[in-house]
Every structure is written in C-alpha cells, then in structure tokens.
C-alpha cells in the first residue's frame, strides 16, 4: 500500500503480564492503513490483547512508540464488554458525553448507532439484561457512534455461538465498509479472520512473527508455529530431493511418498511440508496429475454442512474437508482407502529450524 499508515507501531517493546508469568511483547513494525481490516492472530497468551491495548494507548511501551495520524477518535471494544448501568440508549449516549449536541440530534445519532447493529428495539431495555450477543452488538454500536477513525476490537466474537458470530461478523463487515474506519482486530478464530481481514498479523510468544496480505499469510506462513495458527494444519517433515519433476521441486517424506511443489528450498534441506486442508483433495479416479499417494481414513466428522476427514498418510495425520451430502462424502467411512492429491502451487515449504 502506497498511502501513509493511519496508525503505526515501531520497535515496540511492552512488558506483558499474564497468569503464566511475564514476558515481553515485541513488534518491530506494524502499520494500520485507512479503510483496511487487519486481523491479529495468535495462540492464547501470545500478547494479542496487550498489543491491542498498546495500540489504543492504554499500555505504555517500555520502548518504541505508537504514532497515530488519525483525524478522528481511536477507540477500542474490549474482550468482556461491560455495559454501563442504565438503558441501552444511555450506553450509547455515553459516547457523546461532553460533546455539544442538541437533544434531537443526539436522539437521532443514538438511534442510528443502534440500528447499525440491529438493536434499536432494545433501546429502552436495561443494558444489564442483554444476552451476550446483544451486549457485543451494543459495545460495537457504542464504538461506531463515536465515528472513530481507528477501531480496535479485542475478541469481538468471544462467547457467541456460530450463528451469532456469523450474523455479527456480517453486520460488522458492513459497518466497516460503510464508515471506512480502519480496524485492527484480535481473534483466535480463524474463520472470522478469513471473513473480515485484508491483512493478517501473527503473534507467537509475544513476538510479531509475520504480517502480510491475508492470502499470503494463510498460504505462506513463515514458520511451523505460524502455520498452525493460520490453519495450515497438514504439516509433514521431508527432505528436498535432488531430482525434479518439470519445473517443480520434489520433497521426499519417505521412500514411497514424494510431493511436488512450486516452492523452493535448497536440495537436501529438511523442511515442513504444509498443505491447507482445503487444498488437500481426494482423488476420485479421474487420473489427477498431482497425486501424492494413498491414505486411510481414520476419522469422519459430519456436521451436516461439511465432512471433516482425518487421513493417515505416510505416518502423518492429514485433514481435509468435503461438502456434506455430495458424491464422495456419502460413502466414506473409517478404514476406507483414498487417493490424495495436492497441486504443487498449494504445497508450501517451511525450513525446519535446527534448534
């Protein structure tokens, strides 16, 4: 992106306190641009909330700085939204405290804010009586009421069921595109990240480990830990072979299993082979060119929408998904032998660290 960031962190070091003790949060460079949604992923305790709070100016870094050139407010929605005592409408009015507004103007603004997140019918209810999902909606409505230039969301979907998450994330996505606010959000829910993110940043053990465009990070994680966080769950070790197949490198898992890839690593080096579950295909005998060999189905989980398969392949457990109720998915059961394929451009390599 060529424009200047609206919020940027440089050489950040923040002391991180958690139940597991204290360590440092380190982020060399993190930028947030106008009109983008940056999703920060990381395992529990990796410093996501601390990073959010630091960007919001609520935590003071030990060194480094956060620079904001935002022309509007920078606001944050917390992991546990605690509503103020009083009505839902009062909760939104709090965002206007101290700002000169006429009564009618204020009323209209409050109504607009509530409508944005579809809770206008609850305006006169006591905020404390709202359900978890309604409370999240209230917290977002209140934050958007400020007309923020930057919105920081800490686990905005925590504690919601799948339907609630899906509905809220659609409303949130519309609110983001309607207002043009720059959003940085923390989540450990990969599916939310996929739906909302333009870019993804990954925190591992308090370190900002990778930042990039969504698909780049999802498909080319730079370490084993990042791969796990971004859902590249099929990870198998192999050695880069000396021979090639066309313009593809070959990686040898064992004597029977070799995988072609467009990724490049030095011949002879130990690598993690990473394949996202959605890129691991079952071959139905159409003679696919990217066959990687046969596997045995070890687990089938059908939730009515998707069928998740665990497949034993070359001593490793691989995962893939099929649409429920269609073709292959119907007859598959534990113990079935299947042919697997993965196209070389979706086979990613990560050097194995020697430590």
């Amino acid at each position: 992106m060529s424009e200047a960031p609206i919020l940027s962190a440089r050489d950040l070091r923040v002391e991180l306190r958690s139940r597991r003790g204290s360590f440092d949060l380190v982020a060399d460079a993190l930028d947030l641009f106008a009109r983008e949604a940056l999703v920060i992923l990381g395992p529990n305790g990796s410093g996501k909330s601390t990073l959010m709070r630091t960007l919001a100016g609520l935590e003071r870094p030990v060194s480094g700085r956060v620079v904001s050139v935002a022309t509007g407010p920078v606001t944050m929605v917390f992991q546990r939204p605690a509503p103020f005592a009083g009505s839902v409408a009062h909760n939104v009015r709090v965002a206007f405290l101290g700002r000169q507004r006429s009564g009618a103007d204020l009323k209209g603004s409050v109504r607009d804010a509530l409508e944005r997140f579809k809770i206008n019918h609850l305006a006169e209810h006591r905020a404390a009586t709202l359900s978890g999902g309604e409370m999240r909606r209230l917290a977002l409505a209140r934050a958007f009421a400020l007309r923020p230039a930057v919105l920081l969301l800490d686990e905005a979907f925590a504690g919601l069921d799948a339907d609630g998450q899906a509905a809220l994330s659609l409303d949130l996505r519309r609110a983001i595109s309607d207002t043009g606010v720059a959003v940085a959000m923390v989540t450990h829910d990969l599916r939310r990240a996929m739906l909302l993110a333009n870019r993804i940043a990954v925190l591992i053990d308090g370190k900002l480990a990778q930042v990039g465009l969504r698909d780049d990070v999802l498909e080319q994680p730079s370490s084993f830990e990042i791969a796990e966080v971004v859902g590249m769950t099929n990870l198998v070790q192999g050695v880069v072979a000396s021979d090639r197949r066309g313009d593809c490198a070959l990686v040898e898992v064992d004597a029977q299993h070799r995988i072609a890839t467009r990724a490049e690593c030095p011949v002879g080096s130990r690598v993690w082979i990473g394949i996202r579950p959605e890129h691991l295909k079952l071959d139905v005998g159409r003679g696919a060119v990217d066959l990687i060999g046969k596997g045995v189905v070890r687990g089938v989980v059908n939730d009515g929408v998707a069928v998740s398969l665990q497949i034993d392949w070359a001593g490793a457990e691989l995962r893939t998904h099929l649409m429920a109720g269609r073709g292959l998915a119907r007859g598959l059961d534990v113990g079935a032998a299947v042919s697997l394929s993965a196209s070389p451009e979706h086979v990613h390599l990560i050097p194995v660290r020697s430590d």
Partner: protein, 218 residues
C-alpha cells in the same frame, strides 16, 4: 424535673440534625474520594489498609468517643481547640464513626465494577469531568447504601456523643442522649416520645434516600 416543652423537643431534634448532617456531609466529602481511590487502584499496603477500614466499620462508637475525648481533653494533642463538650466535638466523633462506613462501602461498590471500566470510559473519549459523574452513576446503589448506613450509624449513636458532648442541656443534648437520660430518670413517657421522634426521623431520611436510590433502576 418538669417534662420538656414542645419547644424543647424541637430544639433537641434540630440540634440532632445540626450535628448529624454536617458530620455526614464531611464524612461524604472526605470518604467518597478516598473510597473511590482505594477501590480503583492497586498499591502496596492496600490489603492492610482495607482491613483497617473494615475494622473501623465495626468500631464500637463508645471507644471512638473515648479516643476523641483523649484527643480533645485539655492536655490532649488537640486540647487547645477547647472543643470538648461542644457540638464540634460531637461532629468530630461522628465523622470518625461514619468515615470508615462510607469509605468501606464506597470501595466495595467501586471494586465491583469491571476491571476494564476505566479503560472503556477512556477509549470512549469521555472527558475527565464527566468520568466522575459516570462513575457515581454506576455505583449509585452502593453510594446511597453508604449514605443510609452512615446516617443510621451516627443518628442512632449515643456512646460517643455522650462521651465527648456530655449531654449538656441547651448545648450538646441530642435525641439519643436525651432518651438515655430520661430513661435513667424514670421519665419513660418522655423517653418514648423522643424515641418516636428519632425513629420517625430515620424513617423519613432513609425513605427519601431509598426513593432516590430506587428511582434510577430502569
């Protein structure tokens, strides 16, 4: 001794209020900020301080009266004030009784707020002068409970005001000390009449405060 006239009853009642209400006002003015500060901050020595306050909440008033007496007697550290046996001494004693109650209940109310409450208010851009208003609004149930408890404590208290006020007619005689005196004198009807006034006073004041407290429950 002749039974007190209506005028005297009114005078005693008025003096009771003249002692209790300033004592309450001073306790609130001093106690609320302290309660809020202790409730919202973490600092070394907080736990011993809070347990000291909790102890103070249950301190026997007659012992408080004794301590204030020692402080105010002619050879005491504040003897030069010549406050002993004056309404000022009674107000002081009642402040010492009410203060821990107000601090203790306020800090409990503030402590029940979400850990992130201050941060949420800050990130919503609420100006500083509005934050205290918002906080008071959040904990108004607790605050009014503090006021009612403190008022009840000092209005009904007899040991301390007797010790430092002395129950001097026309000067430091208040409802409780008068009730005690008339009871000891065997003037039970007068004692009972004064008791009715005292209970009535408490009913009215607590009723008003409760009405305020409950009105905001929407």
């Amino acid at each position: 001794m002749s039974p007190p006239s209506i005028g005297l009853l009114i005078e005693i009642t008025a003096r009771t209020l003249a002692v209790c209400l300033p004592a309450l006002a001073i306790s609130l003015a001093v106690g609320l900020p302290i309660g809020i500060a202790i409730g919202r901050r973490r600092f070394a020595g907080r736990v011993p301080l809070v347990s000291l306050i909790n102890t103070g909440m249950g301190a026997p008033p007659v012992v408080v009266g004794l301590l204030v007496y020692f402080a105010l007697e002619r050879n005491g550290p504040f003897g030069d004030l010549s406050w002993l046996y004056s309404p000022q001494a009674m107000i002081l004693a009642q402040v010492v009784i009410a203060l821990p109650l107000i601090i203790g209940i306020t800090l409990a109310a503030v402590g029940s707020l979400d850990e992130d409450w201050d941060l949420q208010v800050r990130t919503l851009g609420v100006p500083k002068r509005w934050r205290l208003w918002l906080l008071a609004r959040e904990i108004r149930m607790g605050l009014l409970a503090a006021v009612i408890t403190a008022l009840g404590g000092i209005l009904s208290e007899v040991g301390a005001v007797m010790a430092v006020g002395g129950n001097l007619e026309g000067e430091t005689r208040v409802l409780t000390t008068a009730i005690l005196m008339y009871t000891q004198m065997g003037e039970l009807e007068i004692a009972l009449g004064l008791a009715v006034i005292l209970v009535g006073l408490m009913l009215v004041l607590a009723g008003l405060l409760t009405a305020v407290q409950q009105s905001g429950r929407t």
